[in-house]
């Protein structure tokens, strides 16, 4: 069965530091992968998506992610975090190019230290 795992429930980094949020997926074919962010009391906002091609994808607010088929991973990165990046981040997988039904990871809560 398809699944998405985010191994880190919580991550704390200092403002200005670099960030990596980990995501591993399980799916036998080529997945369509997404990172979403959820701020308190809000819905989900798409940060970036991977469909095919260049394994490094750029997203909003200077986020990027790298797809690795060999590692079944799609880690999210940012070179320098800001306090406003504090939120819960979800990795998601779809088996169809038009997203269709999404399979979500458990989320990683990011806290930024001043």
């Amino acid at each position: 069965a398809q699944s998405v795992t985010q191994p880190d429930a919580r991550v704390t980094v200092s403002e200005g530091a670099s960030l990596q949020l980990r995501c591993k997926y399980s799916y036998s074919a080529t997945p369509y992968l997404f990172w979403y962010v959820q701020y308190p009391r809000q819905g989900l906002q798409l940060l970036l998506k991977y469909y095919s091609g260049d394994p490094v994808v750029q997203g909003v607010n200077s986020f990027e992610a790298e797809f690795s088929k060999s590692n079944s991973s799609f880690h999210l990165q940012k070179a320098s975090v800001h306090w406003s990046d504090s939120a819960v981040y979800f990795c998601a997988l779809s088996m169809h190019y038009n997203q269709g039904k999404l399979i979500f990871g458990q989320g990683t809560k990011l806290s930024i230290k001043p």
Binding site: Q45, F90, Y97, N98, L102, F104, Q106
Partner: protein, 113 residues
Amino acid sequence: NSKVIQTPRYLVKGQGQKAKMRCIPEKGHPVVFWYQQNKNNEFKFLINFQNQEVLQQIDMTEKRFSAECPSNSPCSLEIQSSEAGDSALYLCASSREDTGQLYFGEGSKLTVL
């Protein structure tokens, strides 16, 4: 700011009461999804529509859940007889037919006492 409008933002119901949530998808988006997000951040796909037709749905929890997307009216998700385990954030999302990128609303948070 989300262009998918969900109402109400919060609703509180007693066990056995009916709970109804509405969603206005973004203009020009014929595809609509409903997801349930519980307090442990576990997402459950409930149902999706294209125009007014159901594409996929789960076994709607002993038929207590129903949903529709009538033409020229908001989509809706209704729980006939709420249970404590239904307490969650209900997210509506819409997309164009071609790209399929989902745009989420801010959700309706249901608390069942």
